[in-house]
Amino acid sequence: MRRRFLEALGVATALSAVVLLLTFAREPVRAQTTQPATPAPEKAGPAPTLPWGVPDLQGIWTRDSDEPLQRPAKYADKATFTDEERAALDRQISEIVGREATEGRRQRGTEQDVGGAYNSAVFTSHLRTGRRTSMIIDPPDGKIPAVTPEEKKRRADMLEFALALMQATDECEKHLPACNGGKYGPPSPRRNEVAPAYVMNAVVGGGGGAINRSDGPEDRGHGERCMAAALPDFGGFRRIVQSRDQVSILYDVGQGQGWIRAIPITNSPHPPKGVHMWWGDSRARWDGKTLVVDVTNFSEKSNYQGAHQNLHLIEKWERVDSETLRYTVTIEDPTVWTKPWTVTHDMKKQSDADNRIYPEPRCHEGNYGMVGLLAGAREADRKYAAGKGPNPATLCLGACGGFAGGFADDGADANPLR
């Protein structure tokens, strides 16, 4: 019975595992090919300019190395890795994600086993470890600044709700990482409540904003609804096309959750405050050789690390040399963080002719997972009501821990850069 139910949920649950990577952990998801199609030449030339005198930002761009967004605690006192450390980390990561999950690593037929459906053979290829221990350059400790007391409260409320929905599951009974901070108990009456936020962000037990309930699509979070793409983004591929007064950026990110952005180069103001958009309103200007983009007018539904409609970004795009594009973004939201913070990373030029970018966001067009997941949940409701199945409150519906993304939740097989 339970096993069949798990099979029905397989697709959606596996999807949520990847969404966990995409939005929750904010690590770049390299679902597509990860190697640059054409290796960069040994020596980069000078940054090219366009006929009207501004830097040429055009082309397909992607990162060629992996650096964590935040500096892991164990590297707190160092900003860069040595070459030896990078080589060792590459070996370690490759061993962990390359090792086939066996009975010894995770028990077949368990909810944790489902997370391992996204194993190294499918989705967890990794770039080489980069030079820096964090992409965050400000604050200097490489960490996201402390959140405001109000945001702390919001996160605590979300976590409490998410854990209440988990409390009758095996994960809580066995004190597994998916239930960290929670306790085991009978099904919570809170299962009948509306979630405390539209975007259930950054909660244990609910990867990608999904909570442990499938009463309707909203419960499944932005990722499973194919709406996870957010600004800023530090993974995937970009294609930039540039005219004198516009810049167009196609983002190939996540699994078919890419999107396109059209940026006017103008001194004209942002739209009225009442116009809210998922990816905000971008206005660019040239500051010397740097394209500076100011982004406001985000939506209540936008979600970057818990920031919604008050998010404000100042992006800087610089063509460093013929092979390198540098992206630097200052992120601020005084309702979420106690001070602004800044992230930077370089992207490497890819061949236009090879065209190794996947332009169509087809997640929604192929979202059979959502139908399967909701239909599976209704079937479980019916069976329980007929006395023929377990209480749905005892089931874990995604982000149940295990080997999601090829890494263990904790221990020796955890992601060493986390």
């Binding site: 699509p217 096309v241 540039q242 007064d245 004209s268 002719a353 332009p359 087809r362 067009e365």
Partner: protein, 324 residues
């Protein structure tokens, strides 16, 4: 809607003269947003410049072919049993005159007919009768090419030095037009694989690699994965593109046919491309029947049964309103 060739030629000559007079160096891009008319109509390499925010202003998305106005997006037989006397049906009846369909002189060139094979013509008719269930637009799916070009939403063209990228408000769809040698996409696509070339001042775009899942309009006009579209973009004035698309699909049509229409620049100063990220708007329509607590109370399996119960608030009854 179709300009005589002479007018188009004169417009191009005028545009060239303006470009020559202004000169690229005179441009101050930071002072000019999209939608501004005081701009060169040529790029610095002398090509017509299509950059900007554009939108069709016609009824092609309802039906490419000429049609009369209709009482509703969905209609049913009225009391009088004539085809022309159909009335709005339940899904839209509460919307009154806002739910009707505007008339059109059509955008199909020649005799205005779409040369369907007989079996395809039957499927087109059936599609139209099952519009709600079958039109990908209602599910917020990528609209395909050429439909994206004439949906009633703006789109932005960014003309780079070796590629042209388009961003569409509807469903955040996009296209890129390649020039020269480029690898094809790894799979068939909704929006097609576009390769452009210049024929004088006309941009000609060859679009292939379709997956066959799109429609041309809300009338059920459709194609297969053998679709081949050849588009022609010509600047008719600085603010109007003459857009033509020749459509071939040997699985569906007996011969090639062509649509043409003007695309207009959105002239509002400070006009950004505003999102219409509609996935969320289609969720109730697509998944509502699978909710634990249904919002529409009458789902029977995948069938949504819509009861129109519209309580008129006190003071808003028809005669009360009329007296105001």
């Amino acid at each position: 809607m179709r300009s005589p060739a002479g007018v188009a030629i004169r417009a191009v000559i005028a545009a060239a003269a303006i470009a020559a007079a202004v000169g690229c160096d005179a441009l101050k891009p930071n002072e000019m947003g999209p939608g501004t008319t005081a701009r060169s109509t040529r790029t610095m390499d002398g090509k017509p410049d299509f950059s900007g925010v554009w939108q069709a202003n016609n009824e092609a998305n309802w039906d490419l072919q000429a049609h009369s106005a209709r009482a509703g997006m969905v209609t049913q037989a009225g009391v009088y049993p004539y085809e022309y006397a159909r009335v709005a049906a339940a899904p839209v009846v509460a919307l009154g005159a806002a739910a009707g369909v505007p008339a059109s002189i059509g955008v199909v060139e020649g005799d205005g007919e779409i040369p369907y094979k007989p079996e395809a013509a039957a499927l087109k008719k059936e599609n139209g009768e099952h519009w709600i269930d079958r039109d990908p637009e209602l599910k917020c799916y990528l609209p395909g090419t050429p439909r994206a070009m004439y949906m009633p939403y703006p789109f932005q063209i960014t003309q780079g030095t070796n590629q042209i990228q388009m961003a569409f408000a509807f469903s955040n769809a996009s296209r890129v037009i390649h020039f020269g040698k480029v690898e094809r996409p790894p799979d068939l696509t909704y929006m097609g694989h576009s390769v452009g070339r210049w024929e004088g001042d006309t941009l000609v775009v060859d679009v292939t690699e379709f997956n066959g899942k799109n429609w041309f309009d809300r009338a059920g006009n459709f194609h297969s994965d053998a679709l081949h579209v050849v588009e022609r973009y010509t600047l008719q004035t600085p603010d109007v593109i003459r857009y033509e698309a020749t459509i071939e699909d040997p699985n569906v049509f007996t011969k090639a046919w062509k649509i043409s229409m003007p695309l207009y620049r959105r002239m509002e100063p400070n006009m950004p491309l505003l999102e219409y990220r509609c996935i969320e708007y289609a969720e109730e329509f697509m998944y509502g029947g699978l909710r634990k607590q249904q919002l529409v109370k009458h789902w029977e399996g995948e069938t949504m049964i819509v009861d129109i119960t519209r309580k008129v608030p006190p003071g808003d009854k028809l005669y009360e309103w009329y007296r105001r």
